[in-house]
């Protein structure tokens, strides 16, 4: 069978694929950082929602509602300190709680910098090609 992979060489396709995977990597990093940091440092408790189960429910509904949650499965490995009002503080006197500051505001700033860098230095200004007339 002919190897066609070498013919998939449209420069715009190759560049945009590289750019897309970089962005998805950035998204993944932000999700892991923000959710993990906030969960470990900003939660009062690690209680999960209790399923609402009644005798009247069909078995299939009860079964699905009884499934464990992500918080019950991997939450215990991720748990950090349970917060209290006594240790509430905000860095730099800005009034933003510490867990919001480090878990969301700081990564947001980093994302702005990375996004700007992506726009200015990573993104290729490929020619989009001429537009065919609508058929």
């Amino acid at each position: 069978m002919t190897d066609t992979s070498s013919t998939y060489d449209d420069p715009l396709f190759l560049h945009s694929r590289r750019e897309a995977f970089f962005v998805l990597g950035l998204w993944l990093f932000c999700m892991v950082w923000s959710v993990t940091y906030c969960y470990r440092n900003g939660y009062l408790s690690y209680a999960e929602p209790k399923p609402s189960l009644t005798e009247e429910m069909p078995g299939i509904v009860k079964g699905i509602r009884s499934l464990p949650t992500v918080g019950q499965i991997i939450g215990p490995q991720m748990e950090g300190r349970e917060r209290s009002l006594d240790d509430f503080h905000s860095p730099l006197g800005l009034g933003i709680p510490d867990w919001v500051f480090y878990g969301i505001a700081m990564p947001w700033l980093v994302c702005i910098v990375v996004s700007v860098w992506w726009c200015l230095f990573f993104f290729q200004e490929d020619d989009l090609g001429k537009s065919e007339q609508p058929s």
Binding site: L44, E125, S135
Partner: protein
Amino acid sequence: MNEGTSAITIVTFLIYIGGVFLLAIFSHKLLSKSSFMGEYFLGSRGLGSWALAFTFAATSSSGGSFTGFPALIYSYGWILALWIASYMVVPVCTMGVLGKRLNQVARKSGAITIPDVLRDRFNSTFLGLFATCTIIFFTVANLVAQFKAGALIVEETFNLSQFFSDYSYLWGLVIFAVVVVFYTAYGGFRAVVWTDVMQGIVMGAGVIILVPVILYQAGGLTEVNRKIRNHPPHLVTSISGKQNDLAFVLKKAEDTQEELPVGVEYVVTDSPNTELSVKLDQTVPIDDSSPELIVRVNLATDQNGNVETKAEDIKNLIEQDTLFDRIFEKIVYAFDNDGSGNVAAMSVNHFIHGKDFLFGPGRRKDASPFHPLGMGLSFFFMWAISGMGQPGTMVRLMAFEESRTLKRAVFTVTFYYALIYLPLVFIFIAARTLLPYIPQEDADKSMVLVATRVVSQLGWQYKILAAIFVAAPFAAIMSTVDSFLLMISSSLVRDVYQRTINPNVTEKVVKWASYATTGIVGALVTIAATHPPDFLQYIIVFTGGGFAATFLAVTFLGIFWPKMTSSGAIASMVGGFCTIFFLFVGEMIVWYISSFTGQNTEWTPTRMDLLGLHPIFWGLVISFGMGIVVSLFSQPLPDDLVRKYFSKAAAE
């Protein structure tokens, strides 16, 4: 006049409506200068950086950004910063991942709609029609709800009940429909985009100005947190009827020797002529949890068994009891209740403590966590990933003129979102201290109340700012409606009529069909909005997820993976759609089957969050998974078709 209605507000509305009409007229002039279809539905792929940036921002910032989001911040506090956190990557994700490549792919075949792109990429008429049907299904349902919301805003703002009494809603609906259908039908894509630009600039500027104003009024965020932290536990409850919402404020634990209740329960029986009574009691758990101390209020009923208790009766009864001095700090009427609440019978509403606002996971009134781990993960998929899969935003990615435009738009929106979303969290955290005790059922009015009760009191110049925020939900609804109207119109005219039924249709016929379709769809939706069917609510809630689960995988894999097949594409779309559908309405289907087969239906069906993850997560997993697996085991597309989209030689 109603809350938010003032001469300045009405003038602001009229200026906004006048502005969109002018833009529609100007846009219409451009329709004669190029191919009608390309210009009407895609602006001739001529969107510049600012237009792309703001139409993207405005389309993403729907009515929910200025009503639902502030309401949630007000109700649950700082945890909403995590809820919205994925917006830090939304600009680069929603535009940067698909934008350039989708634009190129669309140009290769002259596609002007998303179904066009799919039909041509996979050489499948079925795929194009399935995409069209999905778009119409979700969009029509949403349009009816949006028209209803728009009508209510027009009715309230212009106080139409004063002129039309029982027909005020109908007139509000007609006025809204005429405005939005006219400028959309007449102006086409460019009118839609330019109104988005106008809205985006105004709202962005408004929020930036509002932040220092509100924070100054509140004394700064540090002071806000201090007040929240020191506020006693409290709860706002609702009984139907005006002026019937009460705020119960408990003593702090350190200020009393008494054991304090965890919540208040209103009990409603069907029995007639029952008397109002209030007492401390224990809950009766249905699981193995411990009983809890609550305040149980048995509401009085009249001879027909209808509730006749007013908030005043409860307040007076408790204040006369020694119960009051022992456990309550005070009981006050809730802020600005208008009778929209209903009794949550036989369920305990829990007191909310200051710490619940300062930390996660946030607490609902039934004491369940607002944002547990599964939702924290899910919402990173919700905005950034699901946002990529909305046909309304994808079509904008097909409309920009060159790569540099996209780059500048990403740059612009990155800063725009940073200046909007976290600051909104600051504003509505502060609003809790400025406007306490807004019932949760009325929290959607937080934006309007902040504007009218805080901002507009500061001086005449601030009344204009306040008027902008009163008008904001209306502008956001118009922005959503015009995009949806055009999406349906393009689907019917281009994907169904021109490409399937009559490929040889003349441009003149296409032109009049486009105007007429937009108008007729608008008229039909208006008629449906006079009496919206209840089941629409169940379609609307899964529209965003439904679109993403149906369209994202097939589009992403279609433009980046040469081995995607038409069978894989169909499997991806159908699998994603069905997954979302069953996770949202599956329990309801079981409930209806139970009711037909005579089984017990004394339980409430809800959305299924498998493993605590939002259905959008599963919809994406299934759609990507099926797209890949089925493609690997199905007939590949012809080489020349694949090379057309992936080969340099074909590009040249």
